[in-house]
């Protein structure tokens, strides 16, 4: 067997130009398979780590996934807000331990602005019950204080004391800027690896202040309230986008959820973040499976190429096979020789593909984190990734038996004098 192995290696090396194309094709399909699997796993992990310790999220009655997406991930938008009176009713519910209202809709240079209460810094948890930690400064105290997420400060090069102007909506039109009421950076949060990093946090009163002279999303000309006159106004918010709720007893979550859905004041909805996330994966899962299926097809095509190349080369190698037979190699050994060659080529492709994938993750991981919000991390292969690699290798082994079988038949009929 060792003799066959050496022969297989030398023989394959001899035809390395053609075979290297096949190796590249297999490497590419491996790269695709592993890449998609890694992205899938990392996206899931990132999302599921984004919020922790929150029992319910309450918002206007829309859809569970939609509420989750915009309240936690700042994706999409709310179709409706909820009244402050509803928020107060919820806080007063016997089973509720804490509430953190959040108000969304504004942006600052592409980053979401989150209006929230001071309780956000106490109660919001992520990952494995990790609290938010301030890398610098302190939480907001006065109306125009802002606390930045790590990415915001890093990408825009902000430091404590800097002045920033928030915009209504996506911030593309300067007319929507709240230019008369700039905010001061008083705190910068430590990196969390969640959407918190990409958010600018201000107090609910600050959010109310910049919208005093706005009605239904548009500034009213001639009714601008200058910043120094704000203390005449009540800055309690009238409406918020959603409320994060923590309960005294986590097992009470169903009952509280039910009473919120039956709330008489306005149509409300309460979701369990974990359950809503599973629903999100159901939707996304369809796309994921399609991607994986595509990659497997690519792998199959590569293997078909492998079979074609090795089989096509057989005609030129009949002389070689006759020599081996004369030396005492049996037809089975010829079959094994060809099969070994195919397996070696597959293995090479797998190794190269895995290596390139690892390099790419290493190089692009941090970039993907800051630009796309999902950090790709270099890790040892997960069991599903091993499964994919195993599947490709096994398929390569089986596919290699096609030229192996052909060589076997050829050597039987040719004997020692092949018809060249």
């Amino acid at each position: 067997m060792k003799a066959l192995f050496k022969l297989a290696v030398h023989s394959a090396w001899n035809r390395r130009f053609v075979l290297s194309l096949v190796v590249l094709s297999i490497a590419l399909s491996t790269f695709l398979l592993l890449g998609i699997e890694r992205i899938r796993a990392d996206v899931r992990e990132n999302f599921s780590q984004s919020v922790s310790g929150t029992d319910l999220i309450v918002g206007a009655r829309t859809g569970a996934v939609q509420l989750l997406l915009y309240s936690v991930f700042r994706i999409g938008s709310a179709t409706n807000n909820i009244r402050w009176s509803s928020v107060q009713s919820i806080s007063q519910h016997k089973a509720v331990a804490w509430t953190v209202p959040i108000s969304l809709g504004d942006t600052h240079r592409g980053f979401a602005v989150v209006g929230t209460s001071i309780g956000y810094f106490d109660h919001f948890r992520h990952g494995d019950q990790q609290p938010l930690i301030l890398a610098q400064g302190q939480p907001f105290g006065s109306v125009f204080d802002a606390v930045l997420g790590a990415d915001v400060a890093e990408r825009l090069h902000y430091a404590l004391g800097d002045r920033i102007v928030l915009s209504h909506g996506d911030g593309k039109m300067a007319a929507n800027d709240h230019a008369d009421k700039p905010f001061t950076v008083v705190g910068i949060l430590r990196r969390t690896g969640t959407p918190v990093d990409r958010s600018v946090h201000i107090g609910l009163n600050g959010m109310e202040a910049i919208h005093l002279d706005w009605v239904a999303g548009a500034p009213l000309p001639g009714m601008a309230v200058p910043a120094n006159q704000l203390n005449q106004y009540d800055l309690t918010p009238k409406r918020v986008t959603a409320v994060l709720v923590g309960l005294k007893n986590r097992a009470a979550v169903f009952s509280v959820q039910r009473s919120i859905s039956e709330f008489q004041g306005e149509p409300l909805m309460a979701i369990l973040p974990g359950v809503a996330l599973d629903e999100l994966w159901d939707v996304v899962g369809i796309g994921e499976r399609a991607l994986v299926a595509m990659s497997l097809l690519v792998a199959l095509v590569s293997l078909a190429g492998l079979v074609a190349v090795i089989t096509a080369s057989l005609d030129q190698r009949r002389r070689e096979l006759a020599i081996l037979r004369a030396l005492g190699a049996g037809p089975q050994q010829i079959l094994w020789l060809l099969a070994l060659e195919g397996t070696l080529v597959t293995l090479c492709g797998l190794l190269i593909g895995t290596g390139v994938c690892a390099l790419t993750i290493f190089a692009l991981g941090p970039l993907s984190g800051s630009h796309l919000g999902v950090t790709l991390r270099l890790q040892t292969l997960s069991s599903s990734e091993w499964a994919l690699l195993g599947a490709v290798l096994a398929s390569g082994m089986i596919a290699s038996f096609v030229p192996g079988w052909r060589a076997y038949r050829l050597s039987l009929t040719d004997g020692l004098s092949p018809r060249i």
């Binding site: 494995d128 097992a251 009470a252 009952s255």
Partner: protein
């Protein structure tokens, strides 16, 4: 023929490699590979409610089935039931019991390695369309090791130690908590 046997043997080997690799990667592996010690007593959900607990006793005699939807009497009954269920008492004998029972998963907190805290409920859809279970039919499970591969409404066997909680809340004194040692997928027996 020798050749055929060899080929068959080889395809079988490659297939075993394939299947093995795929199985290892699937989510159908029990979350923890420990064997279950027989010290966990298998119980059913009935055991978690006191034998004499009957929150709808007063409605037993009236013909509830004859009431129409929207009937104020029905609404009142639903509200009473809700209140009774939310304050359902626990069975004190269960405190500290090492038990094993099956139910549906409602995930709470997912740590990096998997699910760490979840609620175990007796029937499907407890968070969606059906009325929430009584408080003595909900178990707040905290798993010793994070478990992978379970999502909302998966069925599992959970083995661990129960504890009852005394709470100052609208939940009264009810509330079961379990420190779970083993969480396994539950496969319903063929019917």
């Amino acid at each position: 023929m020798n050749m055929r046997a060899l080929l068959i043997g080889l395809i079988v080997t490659a297939s075993v490699v394939l299947v093995g690799a795929l199985t290892a990667g699937s989510a159908f592996v029990p979350a923890l590979a420990q064997t279950v010690p027989s010290s966990f007593r298998v119980i059913s959900w009935d055991a978690l409610a006191p034998k004499d607990w009957d929150p709808l006793k007063q409605y037993r005699d009236s013909n509830v089935g004859l009431l129409m939807d929207g009937d104020p009497k029905l609404d009142q009954m639903m509200r009473d039931m809700r209140a009774a269920w939310d304050n359902a008492p626990t069975v004190s004998a269960m405190n500290g019991a090492a038990v094993k029972l099956a139910g549906y998963v409602v995930p709470l907190d997912e740590a990096k390695g998997g699910l760490k805290e979840f609620l175990l409920v007796p029937y499907f859809g407890a968070c969606i369309h059906t009325p929430p279970p009584p408080a003595n039919q909900i178990i707040h499970v905290i798993s010793k090791n994070p478990v992978k591969g379970f999502r909302t409404m998966d069925t599992v066997w959970v083995s661990g130690t129960l504890s009852t909680r005394r709470q100052e809340s609208m939940m009264g004194t009810s509330g079961y908590r379990m420190d779970a040692v083993i969480v396994d997928r539950y496969a319903p027996p063929s019917r």
